[in-house]
């Protein structure tokens, strides 16, 4: 029957289309690693340089002394998922079941003509151990899917790693393929029609078939509607003889199909009607087309990481001794876009995780930032509000490198964040310490005044009148300030006592945009030495927060005009 399916023009066409889409997709993704530009330095390298870097890198990796290490790393990190194992046993188990379940099914079942038949001389889908194994791996796949998707909410709380609908679709496809596989198998087991077709193929005559039918009803679970009651023992004995002669060579006992067989038994009652309704055909179509669809979809979902990740890990292994060339780095970042599976393990350990939760800004988390980095690099315009959230994420990152350490696929995330900040910066969203200095303080004050009229105090310290009432204008704060002392020709616009004095005068607006506020080294000399106990440095820090909150929107609005 399979042959008829594959020989049919329709199926073949569909398969070729699916394979074609898959190949084009793969090609597109692979090429994109040499095209996507992330980081300000990406503009400095050409496509050819990047191609060269990729090829040379690959050759170097193969011929380097590190090769055994790379291979070892590949085995441990890719095949055995060592990094994942360290972080979460459950997720590791899920991942292994899913990946190897799928892999075996593909090798042994889907591509048996190409692979299994050649690997195993005695390969027969209906023979043990293959019959048993197919069920085992089918179940493994399903268990893997369940393990991978369950309990995530509990692990991550409110903060969730990024998900795309297309990834969910692919997951559903996998489940559909496996489930329809089981159903199809069960249907075949219980189907008299299938039995008749086989009998016909083998030219079994009328007499022989009587006993055989009983044997297949009792031992193989075929639901013959007309066989009722107990069989004649002789007839059965005879049938068993025929079975030994004709069938056993190709058919193991279906009980080994420990999933399909019970299903078949359960489905036995309606087997005739399903036969009549050609359910087998329907299931087959679903099964096959789900496979085709999955093939076509593969390069466009995160499952593509099965291709990207080993490459990423190899690159990591190859590069860990010497830094990559600029072109290599740029390629690497592009590859990261595909290699990132958004597993969220980086989020789990992110140093600013608590801050992300508190600020309710998931853009602080690495798994989101990978996407954001790509977004920023690929768009010429970013909406102000969105950019603001992205910028917070980019600028609050502490560069602790834990995400890079934890990443199961070995991405150099630290480099990616750096590049992302560079891109944000060149798109007009540098760190506040940078953009505040774009305009003199007086210009900020005028812009702010035009919008707000009256500028509210920067915070509790600034609002506290008694802070400044104690000031006797002695300028000790400035005298001990290393910033004023070392500014040289790039003089500070306002000395610390002048900032304090503006606050005393109630002219917060003039202090907000001051360069001094951002050049403050927060060394606390002023605060320590103030004879009146004014918390000069704490106030500077308070002003930074206020400048960011109050001047940021002004800047965005002015930019959008």
């Amino acid at each position: 029957m399979e042959d008829t399916v594959f020989n049919g023009g329709f199926f073949t066409t569909a398969l070729w289309i699916a394979l074609g889409v898959c190949c084009l997709g793969l090609l597109w993704r692979l090429v994109s690693w040499l095209i996507i530009k992330i980081g300000p330095d990406a503009k400095e390298v050409s496509f050819l340089q990047r191609l060269g870097a990729a090829i040379i890198g690959g050759i170097k990796a193969i011929f380097s002394k590190r090769l055994p290490g790379i291979i070892g790393g590949f085995v441990l990190d890719s095949l055995l998922q060592r990094r994942l194992f360290k972080v979460s046993k459950k997720r590791w188990l899920g991942h292994m079941l899913l990946f190897y379940g799928c892999l075996v099914l593909i090798v042994m079942h889907a591509l048996h003509v190409l692979l299994a038949d050649k690997l195993f001389s005695d390969y027969q889908a209906t023979l043990n151990p293959f019959l048993l194994l197919r069920n085992v791996f089918g179940v493994a796949t399903l268990v893997g899917v369940v393990l991978m998707t369950s309990g995530r909410k509990k692990d991550w709380g409110k903060v969730r790693p990024a998900r795309l609908p297309i990834d969910a679709l692919f997951g559903i496809l996998v489940v559909v393929i496996v489930v329809t596989g089981f159903l199809l198998e069960a249907q075949k087991m219980s189907s008299p029609k299938a039995f008749n077709r086989m009998a016909e193929e083998y030219g079994i005559d009328e007499d022989e078939i009587k006993g055989l039918r009983w044997v297949w009803k009792l031992d193989y679970g075929v639901a013959f509607p007309d066989l009722k009651g107990e069989p004649d023992p002789d007839l059965l004995e005879e049938g068993r003889g025929y079975n030994e002669d004709y069938c056993v060579g190709c058919h193991s006992k279906p009980q080994h199909a420990f999933v399909s067989y019970p299903v078949a038994k359960a489905a036995g009652l309606i087997a005739t009607s399903t036969d009549a309704a050609n359910v087998d055909k329907g299931l087959l179509y679903i099964h096959i087309f789900a496979c085709f669809f999955a093939i076509a979809l593969l390069p466009f979902t995160r499952v593509f990481h099965v291709v990207a990740d080993p490459i990423s890990l190899v690159v990591r292994g190859a590069a860990s001794s010497a830094p990559l060339s600029k072109a290599g780095r740029v390629n690497r970042r592009a590859l990261a876009m595909d290699a990132c599976i958004r597993c969220g393990l980086c989020d789990f350990d992110c140093s600013v995780g608590p801050i992300a939760k508190w600020m309710n800004n998931q853009e602080l988390l690495p798994s989101r930032k990978v996407q954001a980095t790509r977004l920023v690099a690929s768009r010429s315009e970013i909406k102000a509000g969105q950019a603001e959230r992205l910028a917070v994420g980019a600028h609050l990152c502490t560069d602790c490198g834990r995400c890079t350490d934890r990443c199961p696929v070995g991405l150099d995330l630290a480099d990616l964040w750096d590049a992302g900040r560079g891109d944000l910066s060149s798109k007009g969203f540098p760190a506040p310490a940078v953009w505040v200095k774009e305009e003199p303080a007086i210009a900020w004050a005028e812009a702010l005044g035009a919008e707000l009229g009256r500028v509210p105090p920067a915070g509790p310290l600034t609002a506290d009148r008694n802070q400044f009432s104690a000031c006797v204008q002695c300028q000790t704060c400035t005298n001990v300030c290393p910033v004023v002392a070392n500014s040289g020709e790039d003089r500070v616009d306002l000395a610390p006592q002048q900032v304090m004095n503006l606050l005393r005068l109630g002219m917060n607006d003039l202090a907000l945009g001051s360069k001094m506020v951002w050049d403050c080294a927060t060394c606390y000399q002023c605060q320590e030495n103030c004879p009146e106990g004014i918390r000069v440095t704490d106030i500077m820090l308070e002003l930074r927060g206020a400048a960011w909150r109050q001047l940021g929107p002004v800047r965005d609005r002015r930019r959008s005009i």
């Binding site: 002695c474 002392a485 000395a495 320590e528």
Partner: protein
């Protein structure tokens, strides 16, 4: 070591000159000293240590011999704390502090009389203890040496031109030159401390020397605003004298002055050397006494703590130091609500003339003490047997007009610590 874990011999509250001196004196007598206060008031110091220059204030009589001044004071104002300390104790005390400061990096010229130091305002300041970096100024004026004063563009509080204009009639050979400090191009406002720290590096110092050397001409001395180094002033000053070949002196300026910061720094080092345990940023919010032990409540960012001491020295200063606080009704001593001798009503606090000849009455208000420097109530009764008060918080003095601030602080600290250690001897406290 944590300050709350032990019973201290003495807790000194306040870290101006008086508190610093009291802590150093007490520690050098072998007492364990807990010293509370941030010492930031010291930045207002000029580095000069006055003992007594003016008496009587209403006649503006300036004395060259401070000991003679104190003798006169003893006759005219016998209850003035300076008179109570007396010239002998004063001399010992001030010399001891000058020595301690010298060891801590701020040496003073040995002295027996007042010196007249030219100030940035163009006035002459009669004072006793002169840092070695300033002594040649007094000599240059005294001998009317032809002298060059250096003005630095951007240093706003100091104009050598002003000094020359103001003092020129009494000092004919005085002239000035204006220079640009190295690497200060485009900087509008310079701050003395920054120049002082810059001069502690060879490159900047050499650059200034190279600028000044050709300007000296016939000058026998060169005066700078007080910017010759912060913690290394002796070395910087010496380097200038060596390179310029004439005496070099600093001129005391407005606060925040470099010598004020030096004084603060040197006192901290001297206190540490004497074994004083400092709680710099704590504030004493309450003191309770029982028979033998005082319990002080300290407040800092980590909350309240209690420490215990056998004796307490109050050196919290006047209004600037928060040792006294005036509301509209009266002057109070905020920590212990001690009795404050003061004018009857606010009408009498200040004269309507800022420079009134006899000064302002409120400046003579303060705490009254017995012969052992222990605060008393209005009727002369001691508040607690081992609570002492020193420095400007004491009544019946006007240190600003008498030019006696440091002497008052150091002398009373010395006298009180002496009285206290006698008491410790009698109770076997040490």
């Amino acid at each position: 070591m944590n300050s709350q874990d032990q019973l201290w011999d003495v807790a000194v509250v306040g870290a101006g000159i008086a508190g610093m001196s009291a802590a150093i004196f007490a520690a050098s007598k072998g007492l364990s000293v807990l010293h509370i206060g941030n010492g930031s008031g010291l930045v207002f110091g000029s580095g000069l240590l006055d003992v007594l220059a003016v008496h009587p204030v209403k006649d503006s009589t300036v004395h060259e011999d401070p000991w003679h001044g104190i003798e006169l004071l003893r006759k005219d104002e016998p209850s003035n704390p300076l008179a109570l300390v007396g010239p002998k104790a004063m001399e010992v005390a001030v010399n001891q502090i000058m020595e301690a400061l010298g060891k801590a990096g701020m040496p003073y010229e040995p002295s027996t009389t007042n010196h007249f130091v030219p100030t940035s305002m163009g006035t002459l300041k009669g004072t006793f203890g002169v840092p070695t970096t300033m002594t040649s100024g007094a000599k240059a004026f005294e001998n009317k040496w032809p002298t060059l004063l250096i003005e630095i563009r951007g240093l706003r509080e100091f104009s050598a031109a002003q000094m020359v204009h103001t003092m020129g009639d009494k000092w004919p050979g005085l002239r000035f030159e204006k220079i640009e400090f190295p690497d200060s191009k485009g900087v509008f406002e310079l701050y003395a401390t920054h120049l002082a720290t810059a001069l502690e590096t060879n490159k900047t110092r050499q650059a200034v020397i190279d600028i000044v050397r050709p300007l000296i001409g016939d000058a026998k001395a060169v005066g700078f605003p007080a910017i010759l180094g912060l913690s290394e002033s002796t070395a910087v000053h010496k380097a200038f004298e060596d390179a310029l070949g004439v005496p070099v002196f600093e001129i005391p300026t407005m606060p925040t002055s470099v010598p004020g910061l030096r004084l603060k720094h040197s006192f901290e080092v001297a206190a540490a050397a004497a074994g004083v345990f400092r709680r710099v940023q704590s504030v004493v919010t309450g003191v309770k006494f029982d028979n033998d032990i005082a319990t002080l409540t300290l407040q800092d960012a980590t909350g309240n703590q209690e420490v215990q001491a056998k004796a307490v020295i109050l050196a919290t200063g006047r209004f600037m130091g928060r040792g006294l606080f005036a509301d509209r009704e009266k002057v109070r001593e905020p920590l212990l609500d001690l009795f404050v001798e003061q004018p009857e009503s606010r009408e009498n606090w200040h004269s309507r003339d800022f420079f009134a000849k006899s000064g302002h009455a409120i400046n003579r208000c303060g705490l009254l003490v017995d012969s052992k420097w222990r605060p008393t109530d209005a009727f002369g009764a001691v508040v607690w047997p081992r609570l002492y008060a020193v420095g400007s918080i004491l009544a019946r003095q006007d240190w600003m007009r008498q030019k006696s601030g440091s002497g008052l602080a150091i002398g009373t600290a010395w006298a009180a610590v002496s009285a206290m250690s006698d008491d410790f001897g009698s109770i076997g406290g040490v």
